[in-house]
C-alpha cells in the first residue's frame, strides 16, 4: 500500500468503439490495490468491453489504460483473466486438468513443457474449487457451475495480482455462486485486486466493496455504500445515452480509425 506504487488499474479518458460504434466513451477510472470491484450496468453498457480494453484485447480509439503503471502489455503477466463462459468451445478435446494447466502457460514460457511443479500446483487449485475429482473429465461433460469453477481454478493457477472476470456468476447454481464469492473475498484479503462484471443488482451490494456503475459513460465509481444509491442507479439504468452514442459514432466514422479485427 505504498503511495509510490502505481495503482493496479488506471483508465484515462478511454473511448472504445466496436464496428465504429462507441461502446465506452471517455471513461476515467482508478482502482486501488486490494479492492473488490463490481462492474454493473445494463446490457450493452460496455462492461465486458471495459475489461477487454484493460486486457489490451481491444484497442482504444482515444485515451489509454495503465496496468500497474505500465502502458505496454508487459504488466499483463500479472493479470488473470476469466472470460465469459460462452466464449469457449466446450467440445474441444481438453480435460479440466488441461484447462487449469493453461493458467500456468504464462509462467512456463514459449516452447517449454509444463513442469511437475506446475502440475501439482494446478491440482491444488482444482482442489481449492472442489473440482479435483473431475480433473480428468472432458470439459464439455461438466455442468455449467463446474465449468465456471474450472475457469476460476485456472485463474488461481495464474497467481496474478489483478484479476479481471467477465460474468463469473452467469448461469451457475447457488452453491457455486457461494464458492465463487468466498474465493473473491479470500483473494481480496490476500491483497489482490479484482474487477468483476456483474449484472445482478440484488447481490451486488453484498458481494463487492467497490462498484463501478457503467452505461457507455462511467456514471459513478466508489465504495459500495456511497455509490449504491437510488439516484445513481436510476441514472445508470435509466435509458441509454442515445444522442451521445449517435454523435460519437458520426465523429468516429469521420476519423476512420483502423478497423478492429474480429
Amino acid at each position: 500500500m505504498n503511495a509510490i506504487l502505481p495503482n493496479p488499474v488506471e483508465v484515462h479518458d478511454l473511448t472504445v468503439a466496436y464496428q465504429q460504434k462507441p461502446v465506452l466513451y471517455g471513461v476515467d477510472l482508478e482502482v486501488e490495490e486490494g479492492s473488490l470491484v463490481g462492474i454493473i450496468g445494463p446490457n450493452g453498457a460496455g462492461k465486458s468491453t471495459l475489461i477487454k480494453a484493460i486486457m489490451g484485447m481491444m484497442k482504444p480509439v482515444d485515451g489509454y489504460v495503465k496496468v500497474f503503471g505500465d502502458k505496454s502489455r508487459k504488466a499483463l503477466r500479472r493479470v488473470g483473466y476469466v472470460p465469459q463462459r460462452e466464449s469457449v468451445d466446450w467440445d474441444f478435446p481438453v480435460t479440466a486438468m488441461d484447462v487449469v494447466l493453461m493458467g500456468r502457460f504464462g509462467h512456463a514460457g514459449w516452447f517449454k513443457r509444463v513442469s511437475k511443479r506446475d502440475r501439482s500446483f494446478a491440482s491444488e487449485c482444482l482442489e481449492q474449487m472442489n473440482m479435483l475429482p473431475y480433473a480428468n473429465r472432458q470439459i464439455g461433460n461438466l455442468s455449467g457451475g463446474q465449468q465456471q469453477r474450472v475457469f476460476l481454478a485456472r485463474a488461481l493457477a495464474q497467481q496474478s495480482d489483478l484479476y479481471l472476470m467477465d460474468e463469473p456468476f452467469e448461469g451457475v447454481d447457488a452453491i457455486t455462486e457461494k464458492a465463487i464469492v468466498n474465493l473473491l473475498k479470500n483473494l481480496r484479503n490476500q491483497g489482490k485486486t479484482l474487477m468483476v462484471v456483474h449484472h445482478d443488482l440484488s447481490t451486488a451490494k453484498d458481494y463487492f466493496d467497490h462498484l463501478a456503475l457503467l452505461n457507455l459513460r462511467l456514471v459513478a465509481y466508489g465504495e459500495t455504500e456511497e455509490v449504491f444509491t437510488h439516484d445513481l442507479l436510476q441514472r445508470t439504468y435509466g435509458g441509454r445515452l442515445t444522442v451521445l452514442s449517435e454523435i460519437g459514432g458520426r465523429k468516429l466514422k469521420e476519423k476512420q480509425p483502423p478497423s478492429e479485427g474480429l
Binding site: P83, D89, P93, V94, D98, V99, M102, F105, G106
Partner: protein, 495 residues
C-alpha cells in the same frame, strides 16, 4: 476426340470421362507385369520388392499421417469446411503453374497451388469483413468458384496441342502411378514441419484453440499461430494433392480426426490416434487401389478411412453403438429377471412362506401374464440358476394336466428378497422423508429398486432406523433374512 463430348456434357461428366481415360492409361502402365492372379499381386505388394511399390506405399503412409495430424487441429478447431475450401481453391493455381512452366514441374505447380489457396482464403476474409456475407456462404462461394475455374483451365490444357500432359487430371481424383522419389521429399518435409510445430507449440496451440481470448490475455499471438496452422494446412494439402486429389483431400483431413475423436478426449492422444488411423487408411487404400487397377487412389483411401470410422462408431468398447446396445439389452434382461424373482417372492408371501414352492399358474396370475410368457420367464430363471422346476407329486386322479411347481434356489432367493427390500425401503423413505403420498410411491420404487445399490440401501436403513414394515404394512426383509436364505412364517404373520 474430346470436342463432341465437351459440347454435350457438363463438367462433372467430363471429369468422369477424363478419369476413365486416365485410368486406362494407368492400367496400361502397371499391367505390363500383370498377367498374374490377384494372390501374386498381393504378395508383390506386401513384400515391397518393387521399388515403385515402395514409393507408393511410403507416400500413402506419409500422406495419411500428415493429413491425420493436421486433421486433429482442423476438426477440433472446427475448420473442416475451411480445409475443404482451401483444398478446392488450389486447383486453378496448379493449372496456371503448369501453363507458365509448360511442364509438370513440381515446384511451379506447388507454388501456384499455394498462392491460389491463399488467394482463396484471403477472399473469404475480405468478404467476411467488408460485406454482410456469413462465413459459410463465403466459403461456399470461394470453394465452388475456384474449383470451377480450375476444372475449366485443366480441361483447356488437356485439349491443347502440347497435350501429352495427362496426369494433370490426377489432381482431381488422385493417382498413385506418377508418384516418384522426388514426390516423397515434400511429404517428408511437411511431416517434419508438422511434428516440430506440434511438439514445440503443443501448449500454445492447445490454448489458442480452446480459449483464444484467454490466450490473448496471457500474451499469445493468437492470430500468428492461426496463420501458422493455415500455412501448414496449405502445405499439407498441396503435397497430398497428387495422390488424393483436390476433391477428397479434405475428407482425409476430417475422417481420421473424427474417428480419433470418438476414441479419446485428450488432444495429444487424439493427434496420435488420428495419425495412426490416417496412415492405416493410406496403406490400405493404396493396396486396394493397386489391386483394382482402375480404382483411383484418392477415393479408395477415403473409403478405407470411412470404413474405419464406421467400425469405431459401431464397435468402440466404451461409446460404440453395438456395445452400448448390448449393455442396454443386458440391463433389460436383468431387470426382467429381477421382476420375475420379485413376483416369486410375492407369491410365496401370499401363503406366508408356509410352502417352499409355488405353481407356475399362481405366478402367471400374479404377473398378469399368459402361461406361455410365464413359462419363458421361468425358463430364463432356470437358465441362470435362480430357480428349479419339478412336476408336482400329484394325486393323479384329476383329468387336469399336472401342475408344474417352481422353487427358488438360494441365489434366486437372495435377489428376490433384495429387490423386495429395496422396493419397500424406498417406498417408506419416500413417504417418511420426502412426504410422498403412500399411493404415489409404487411406480417410482419399481424403477429405483434395480439401480439403488447396497450402499444407499444401508444408508436409508440407518436414516429410517431399521424399519420393519413398509407404508402398506408389509414386511421389509432385513439383511439377516437375506443371509438366512428363508423367512420364517411366524415372523411374517406376526402382528
Amino acid at each position: 476426340m474430346f470436342l463432341p463430348i465437351w459440347k454435350k456434357l457438363k463438367y462433372t461428366l467430363l471429369i468422369l470421362v477424363l478419369s476413365r481415360e486416365a485410368s486406362v492409361l494407368k492400367a496400361a502402365q502397371i499391367s505390363s507385369t500383370t498377367e498374374q492372379d490377384w494372390v501374386n499381386q498381393a504378395i508383390r505388394f506386401w513384400t515391397f520388392t518393387d521399388s515403385s511399390i515402395q514409393i507408393i506405399a511410403v507416400g500413402a503412409i506419409l500422406i495419411g499421417i500428415n493429413c491425420g495430424l493436421m486433421g486433429g487441429y482442423v476438426v477440433s478447431r472446427r475448420l473442416s469446411m475451411f480445409g475443404d475450401t482451401l483444398s478446392h481453391a488450389v486447383l486453378p493455381g496448379i493449372a496456371v503453374g503448369f501453363m507458365i512452366s509448360q511442364s509438370k514441374n513440381e515446384a511451379a505447380l506447388m507454388l501456384g497451388a499455394t498462392l491460389s489457396g491463399f488467394l482463396g482464403v484471403s477472399i473469404i476474409a475480405l468478404l467476411k469483413r467488408h460485406t454482410k456475407m456469413k462465413e459459410d456462404s463465403a466459403m461456399g462461394l470461394v470453394l465452388s468458384g475456384f474449383y470451377a475455374l480450375g476444372i475449366c483451365l485443366i480441361t483447356y490444357l488437356q485439349q491443347s496441342p502440347n497435350g501429352g500432359m495427362s496426369g494433370l487430371e490426377s489432381y482431381l481424383f488422385g493417382s498413385l502411378v506418377g508418384l516418384s522419389t522426388g514426390d516423397l521429399l515434400p511429404l517428408c518435409i511437411c511431416l517434419s514441419l508438422i511434428i516440430v510445430c506440434f511438439v514445440l507449440l503443443n501448449k500454445e496451440l492447445l490454448l489458442s484453440g480452446f480459449d483464444p481470448s484467454f490466450a490473448r490475455s496471457v500474451g499469445l499471438p493468437v492470430d500468428i499461430l492461426q496463420y501458422c496452422i493455415w500455412l501448414l494446412l496449405a502445405f499439407c494439402i498441396v503435397s497430398s494433392l497428387q495422390v488424393i486429389g483436390v476433391v477428397l483431400v479434405s475428407a482425409l483431413l476430417i475422417i481420421p480426426a473424427a474417428t480419433a475423436g470418438l476414441l479419446t478426449y485428450k488432444m495429444s492422444r487424439l493427434l496420435v490416434y488420428s495419425g495412426i488411423i490416417g496412415a492405416f487408411s493410406g496403406i490400405a487404400g493404396c493396396f486396394l487401389s493397386f489391386m483394382g487397377e482402375r480404382l483411383p487412389a484418392g477415393p479408395v483411401i477415403v473409403l478405407c478411412s470411412t470404413l474405419l470410422f464406421l467400425t469405431v462408431l459401431f464397435f468402440s468398447p466404451t461409446r460404440g453403438i453395438l456395445p452400448s446396445w448390448l449393455r442396454t439389452r443386458k440391463r433389460g434382461q436383468r431387470i426382467r429377471c429381477e421382476n420375475t424373482l420379485k413376483a416369486c417372492y410375492q407369491v410365496l408371501e401370499e401363503c406366508s412362506f408356509s410352502k417352499q414352492s409355488f405353481s407356475q399358474t399362481s405366478l402367471a396370475r400374479r404377473r398378469r401374464k399368459s402361461a406361455a410368457e410365464t413359462e419363458r420367464e421361468i425358463e430364463a430363471l432356470i437358465r441362470q440358476g435362480y430357480a428349479t422346476r419339478q412336476e408336482s407329486p400329484t394325486e393323479q386322479k384329476s383329468e387336469l394336466p399336472s401342475e408344474t411347481m417352481v422353487s427358488l434356489t438360494p441365489s434366486g432367493w437372495e435377489i428376490a428378497t433384495r429387490m423386495i427390500r429395496n422396493h419397500r425401503l424406498w417406498e417408506l423413505y419416500l413417504t417418511k422423508e420426502a412426504s410422498y403420498a403412500p399411493d404415489h410411491v409404487h411406480d417410482d420404487a419399481e424403477k429405483i429398486e434395480h439401480i439403488i445399490g447396497e450402499k444407499t440401501v444401508r444408508q436409508i436403513e440407518r436414516i429410517l432406523d431399521n424399519p420393519q414394515r413398509d407404508p402398506h404394512g408389509k414386511l421389509i426383509p432385513s439383511q439377516d433374512d437375506i443371509d438366512r436364505g428363508w423367512l420364517s412364517p411366524t415372523l411374517v404373520v406376526d402382528k
